[in-house]
């Protein structure tokens, strides 16, 4: 055996509990004082929180209203459509993880999460569907592992059509109540479902607008540049809530009298227009980081302006700003909460309905803590995924 023994650091550098403590916690008097103070804060916060969460708090308000918080007043008889949509998304996620992230330990954890959730005290129906979610996710994962090359294209196609499919399933087809998949009006969409749809629609539609605005801001044509700069600065200078109010109150005025758009759609328009301006600035940052040589080389190869942008510049620029884009997406997700102020029943809006129930008066802390937890988990999950994606694409390593 010629394998080298790992060289041990010198004796004085080896880790040792006491030395670690001295270096990290009790380096000097000041340090020791801070450590004690910090420990007291930790003790006080943890004790206070645990006492509240485990003893004082009454979580029945959340358990009893789980359906309301998740899908609002969406008719229970039609809820299976949402589950089918989710199962489709789960299949795609599993498939993608199997194809592109086979070594990642995160994949299986994500796929098993619904089954773990099923251990919580839900009814029989959600439990059944949660297990189906895990099964479809794992099936997609397995297929992805077995046939990665064959499935690559179909997965991408699947993601492209996933949003229209999900919205179609949510909305329904037939106008009569007895028909196949009767339509569910948007005023019944609510809870996390509405938050999710607002976020996804906002992100997807603001993306192309944002890219166009960023290109417009760098354009050599003065009118286009001025218009882009004007739009971006105007939107970035005002709070989202004013834009949402404008979308709710003024959008109907702007349209011809025979055109009506419902309140959910108005909120979607508002969020999209708002997010596009911020996205444009992020994309501009990426465009600025591309060296001039790339433009010149593309021109030398005979590509015209549009081709240069689409095939050479944008792919590089967008890759550069992936972390920033994810940050922007998280911001949109958190900002959708504001639609509660204009009266939509998203996750935050529905909380008011829950708290108005006479048997759960005064349970504000539990309800809002639970909603915060959902926001936190999803935001944190997205930023964690983006870090993984960043590593995979090698941002900053090329």
């Amino acid at each position: 055996m010629t394998a080298m023994k790992p060289t041990l650091p010198p004796l004085t550098e080896r880790s040792n509990v006491l030395r670690w403590l001295r270096r990290n916690l009790f380096g000097s008097w000041m340090d020791a004082l801070l450590t004690i103070l910090g420990a007291l804060i930790v003790y006080w916060v943890v004790k206070g929180f645990l006492t509240w969460a485990l003893v004082t708090a009454d979580w029945r308000v959340v358990a009893a209203n789980m359906r309301l918080l998740m899908i609002g007043q969406y008719p229970i008889a039609q809820a299976y459509r949402l589950w089918i949509g989710l199962a489709f998304l789960m299949f795609l996620s599993g498939n993608s993880l199997g194809i592109w992230a086979r070594q990642s330990r995160f994949g299986p954890v994500l796929l098993l999460a619904p089954a773990l959730l099923a251990l919580l005290p839900f009814g029989a129906e959600p439990r059944k569907w949660l297990i189906i979610l895990t099964v479809t996710g794992l099936a997609g994962w397995g297929l992805g592992l077995l046939r990665p090359e064959v499935l690559k294209r179909s997965v991408i196609a699947g993601w492209v059509i996933s949003l229209p499919i999900f919205i179609l399933l949510t909305r329904g087809f037939s106008e009569s109540a007895s028909g196949f998949m009767p339509a569910v009006q948007t005023n019944l969409w609510g809870g996390l479902l509405l938050t999710f749809l607002l976020t996804v629609v906002g992100i997807l539609f603001s993306f192309p607008i944002g890219v166009l605005l960023a290109l417009g801001r760098r354009s050599e044509l003065p009118v286009i540049r001025l218009a882009s700069v004007g739009y971006i600065e105007l939107v970035r200078g005002v709070p989202l809530i004013t834009i949402l109010f404008m979308a709710q109150l003024m959008l109907p005025l702007f349209l011809p009298p025979n055109v009506t758009i419902d309140r959910v759609l108005r909120a979607m328009v508002g969020i999209t227009l708002f997010s596009a301006a911020y996205l444009a600035e992020n994309v501009r940052g990426g465009l600025q980081a591309i060296p001039k040589g790339q433009f010149e080389a593309a021109h030398a190869l005979g590509l015209n302006g549009a081709q240069t942008m689409i095939f050479i510049i944008l792919p590089q620029a967008l890759r550069l700003i992936i972390p920033i884009l994810v940050g922007q997406f998280i911001a949109v997700f958190k900002d959708t909460a504001l639609v509660a102020i204009v009266g939509l029943l998203d996750l935050v809006g529905i909380a008011r309905t829950v708290l108005a129930q006479p048997e759960f008066l005064g349970r504000q802390r539990e309800v809002y803590a639970f909603i915060s937890l959902i926001y936190w988990l999803l935001s944190y999950g997205m930023s964690y995924l983006s870090q993984q994606l960043e590593e995979r694409l090698g941002v900053g390593k090329r």
Partner: protein
């Protein structure tokens, strides 16, 4: 004439980039104007159906509603315009208080995040991760409904050392009441301010002339305090008397009573924004390379001098631009006051709009107000940034 036509034949006009550019822009302008005209026509027709013509003259009318807190004398017989102004001042006060406290807390967090002390470091990291992934609106509502309205009733109020009274009617803190000599004291403070400015500029000139770096801000502050304190003790009657809050019946009285709405809004905004500022400060300090510190130590500067003359100025260059956008975010986010019922400019304008039906006017006014706020802040910060920017060859 002949030559121009010849050129035209060599490059057909539909492939000449200059002509295409002009043409494209002309079409763009036309489309924008046309859509704008359509929207305007629709709006006019829609408003006419409601019997409204666009005009701001309604602002002179009597508002007829109360505003819970206002910095000047406002009542329900004041005009809409005064109501708007009261809301505007409330927005300003929340923003200023919020920016100050968020900066202090943010700097502490940023430094704590870089501490070598394990517990302090982890604690700051935990705080940043926790806050940055929450939704501000939920956070604010939680502070309002879950904390400040859940404080005990006035007759069971918690009293903290320093005579701070916490109750569900608000938080009472000690406050100064101006006495007869206060106007004189104000003049003395103004004199102190001018004196401090003189000290500041003469020190600046001194440092330019000699190349030394005196503790400019410290001396300026000392000059101001010197004049102020001399005035405070020299006046026959103290310009301010301390007024402690106390419980009176079912309400708080005396001192300064901060409403639960104000407390929820400011504490929520401060705690939320400070997490982002903490991250900005951390990034700024990290951006100063270690070599700078080592070089300055090698030149014989001590720890404090290194921090003041080497690290701090360089870190500031990195910190200022993102810090500006955090300040702007705080100001814009203060419009969420409507969720906790604090009468800021947006809340008041919403009330006005509900009463009068003047949606277009009120929304445009609020947007313009926020745009002006943003403009002023960014002009100031750009000026400051210009001043501290690296002067390159």
């Amino acid at each position: 004439m002949q030559r121009v036509e010849k050129q035209k034949t060599t490059i057909p006009f539909w492939r000449d980039e200059r002509i295409l550019g002009v043409l494209g822009q002309a079409i763009f302008v036309f489309v924008v104007l046309f859509v704008g005209w359509l929207i305007y026509q629709n709006m006019k027709a829609g408003l006419a159906k409601q019997g409204i013509t666009l005009s701001y003259s309604f602002l002179k009318g009597i508002s007829g509603f109360d505003i819970a807190e206002s910095l000047f004398a406002y009542n329900r017989s004041s005009s809409y315009w005064q109501a708007y102004l009261a809301g505007l001042l409330n927005t300003l006060s929340v923003s200023i208080v919020g920016v100050i406290f968020a900066t202090i807390l943010g700097v502490v967090l940023g430094v704590a995040r870089l501490s070598t002390n394990f517990i302090i470091n982890r604690l700051a990291a935990f705080y940043l991760e926790l806050i940055r992934n929450l939704s501000l609106l939920v956070f604010l509502i939680f502070w309002y409904l879950g904390v400040f309205l859940k404080l005990p009733l006035v007759n069971e109020a918690i009293i903290w050392p320093g005579d701070i009274i916490l109750s569900n009617r608000g938080v009472g803190i000690p406050w100064g009441i101006p006495t007869a000599s206060f106007p004189t004291f104000r003049l003395i403070l103004l004199a102190g301010f001018i004196f401090a400015l003189i000290v500041f500029f003469s020190l600046l000139a001194y440092s330019r002339r000699t190349g030394r770096a005196p503790l400019t801000s410290l001396w300026t502050l000392a000059a101001f305090l010197l004049v102020g304190l001399t005035g405070w003790f020299a006046l026959p009657e103290k310009p301010l008397v301390l007024d402690l809050p106390f419980v009176k019946g079912l309400n708080l009285s005396g001192g300064k009573i901060l409403s639960p709405e104000f407390m929820a809004l400011t504490s929520g905004l401060v705690l939320y924004t400070s997490a982002f500022i903490g991250e900005v400060v951390r990034a700024g300090i990290v951006s100063v390379s270690k070599g700078q510190v080592e070089a300055s130590r090698a030149l014989g500067l001590n720890g404090f001098q290194t921090l003041r003359l080497i690290v701090f100025p360089q870190a500031m260059r990195v910190i200022i631009p993102p810090l500006t956008s955090q300040y702007l975010n705080l100001i814009k986010n203060s419009s969420l006051a409507i969720a906790v019922g604090y009468p800021d400019v947006f809340y008041v304008s919403n009330t006005i709009q509900n009463q009068t039906g003047r949606a277009v006017e009120m929304i445009s006014m609020v947007m313009l107000t926020y745009l002006i706020f943003s403009l002023i802040t960014s002009v100031f910060m750009n000026w400051y940034n210009q001043k501290i920017k690296l002067v390159e060859r």
